[in-house]
Amino acid sequence: MRLLIKNGRVIDPASKTDEILDVLIDNSRIANISKDIKNGSSQIIDATGKIIIPGIVDMHVHLREPGREDKETVLTGTLAALKGGVTSVLAMANTNPAMDCPESLDILKQIIKKSAKCNVYICAAITKKRQGRELVNIARLKKSGAVALSDDGVSVDEKVLFSKAVKKAKQSGILIICHCEDLRLSGGGVMNLGAVSTRLGLKGIPRESEYKRVERDIILAKETLGSVHIAHVSCKESVDIIAQAKKKGAKVTAETAPHYFTLTEEAVSGYNTNMKMNPPLRTQADRQAIIEGLKSGVIDAIASDHAPHTVNEKDVEFDRAEFGTIGLETSLSLGITELVDKNILTWPELVKKFCLNPSKILKIDKGTLRAGADADIAIVSADKEWTVDKKALISKSKNSSFLGRKLKGIVEYTICRGEIVYKYGIHR
């Protein structure tokens, strides 16, 4: 099966490409990228006026399966991904059972084989049951196919245990992803500690609970000569700490999520539980620091932290609502609306954050459009506007922070391993 995409603006930072070109796909791989490819027998997509980018690699996604199929499944989550131009996701380990042994990974691998609509990579846990007490068998999990390790949702409190994990992960050549939070400092808070939490009478989460743990994790990684990736960076101090560490040559990478460069704690006014997430939405100064961090390169990647929750878990008192927002379907549009349109990032820079850098961090062969690479592609109409509508969301859960918001950029086609798996509005 051959597919020819004609006349689109091809953006591929890996090969420093940014020009109007044709892309020929043959047998699930990119066969050729050049001007005026002639090929009569191919199926043709006219991409005139559109942008062709590598399929997005979203390195922070909660697919919830196995265990919480009422929130999301591998099927619904990956369908949502395709709508957002995402062709690879890293599935987080906080499932039930947790991804802490090869047997659990096997369960998930079976589900993926049966129902995934895009590439799903597995992030295994760092500790058994994610309880922070006993390390998983890192080498075996790596062998079972895990591409990263994280107890996401919680941090490994025990210093010694965490150091050991970083060391072992280094030996096995696998990445540790840190959910940086000191729960003793979070103290049961439900939003950022500050003016808004005080006005609303809600218990605040101090910023220290994040950045002190970022600091600790980077120091411990340095001591053990290992590397760590900091998930969902939300506050200024974290950005500063990561910047300093990078300057000194520490092997650390970082991601943020679209809600942290788009929203602030003010959004919680009115007790909208879709604005409740962990780490919490911070202040305007933090948002600015995140934006600067993306611009300067301190923050390497954008990942959605897609965290689906049912209506029953969100349509309750703010204190009792679950933390998290879904993000797969809005991530790219937010990047376009908030970063490219506002001249913070260029298109190639945005593609780096969404595609190339996460692939490099995870050491997976994705995120590029060079000839020979997997034909994972998103074709985007950058100027088309749409409004986030609950009814139109594909994800099983509808807890989006961006409901009712007008965004720029829609995905016209998503191509995964050479197949058109999504055409605007229609999954195939």
């Binding site: 103290g187 500690l193 808004v196 005080t198 006005r199 009478g201 101090p206 029953n312 008192e317």
Partner: protein, 323 residues
């Protein structure tokens, strides 16, 4: 008198209210206060209406005050306490609300331990919601009765110096008082140990001091908050005796203050903890008058929200085409 019309079907807090709206409640309360002095303490203003007191948190005085207020307006009153309701069986807040709505109740008076609960609730039901205290957020009728008492005693609010002493961080009474008083032109000072002033407090129109004598020096009134030493145990909390020494309202301190300083307290009193018995029972104290005024203020609130809802429904019915 003001010409503002009351249009809100709910009273959720004082932060959102305009000065005129607050003045309207106070003026309405003034007219209702007289009812409680009659031989037959009843007017038919809410006859045929059902008021549900829905309390997710134990409270006696606020609940009783609302109950008396509703009954003096001739409403039927139903009390639901969390211990006896299905909430413990896992019913959601919103289900509870829609069920009460299905009973054709007209007003829900709601107390809840989560901030924002009344607001979430009001978004899901058509009936009137009166916030009787939500978490640390707001307790509008308490602040209104405090303000009503102040105005009754001192003739005005504009320009008054009011000091609030106590656990500001966890106090909905403090928050509602600060909004209400500042909107009416009073100068509010809060006084508490550092650990009980929450982060980002600058968002409130109030001065902060940690020195009680300083806070009392210029005060026309002091509102003493109830100290709850049994609180969460996670946040730093002062030691009880030390608190009384530094922040307790005593005769000596009152003697140094303005001669006619009013001493208020939302109750229930912790005698010897935040206030000495001598002061609580002394001539500056208006604590029991606050309780009496609470009835009038709550009558006014119930009346105004019911009227606004009726008016809204009447307009909606008019618009609805008849077959």
């Amino acid at each position: 008198m003001t010409n503002t019309a009351w249009t809100r079907k709910d009273l959720l807090g004082l932060e959102d209210l305009s000065r005129e709206e607050i003045e309207l409640i106070l003026a309405t309360a003034e007219t209702f206060k007289e009812v409680s002095t009659r031989e037959i303490k009843k007017v038919p203003a809410l006859r045929g209406k059902t008021v549900v007191n829905l309390f997710f948190e134990p409270s006696t005085r606020t609940r009783v005050s609302f109950e008396v207020a509703a009954k003096r307006l001739s409403a039927d009153v139903i009390n639901i306490a969390v211990e006896t309701s299905s909430v413990k069986k896992g019913e959601t807040l919103i289900d509870t609300g829609t069920n009460i709505q299905a009973l054709k109740a007209d007003i829900i008076v709601m107390r809840h331990n989560c901030s924002g609960a009344a607001q979430v609730f009001a978004q899901h039901v058509d009936l009137s919601v009166v916030n009787a205290g939500d978490g640390w957020h707001e307790h509008p009728t308490q602040a209104l009765l405090d303000i009503f008492t102040l105005k009754e005693k001192l003739g005005k609010i504009e320009g008054l110096n009011v000091t609030i002493v106590g656990d500001i961080a966890h106090s909905r009474v403090a928050r509602s008082n600060i909004w209400g008083l500042s909107k009416l032109g009073a100068k509010v000072t809060v006084c508490a140990p550092k650990m009980l002033i929450p982060a980002g407090f600058e968002v409130f129109p109030a001065q902060v001091t940690h020195n009680l004598d300083e806070a009392l020096a210029k005060a026309d009134a002091v509102n003493v908050l109830r100290m709850q030493f049994e609180r969460d145990g996670q946040t730093a909390f002062p030691e009880q005796m030390e608190y009384f020494r530094n922040f307790g309202i005593t005769e000596e301190r009152i003697a140094k203050a303005k001669k006619n300083i009013l001493v208020m307290h939302p109750g229930p009193l912790n005698r010897g903890i935040e206030i000495s018995s001598e002061v609580a029972d002394g001539q500056n104290s208006v604590i029991l008058e606050q309780v009496t005024n609470g009835i009038a203020v709550r009558m006014a609130v119930l009346f105004l929200v019911a009227q606004a809802r009726d008016r809204k429904n009447a307009i909606a019915n008019k618009k609805r085409p008849r077959n």
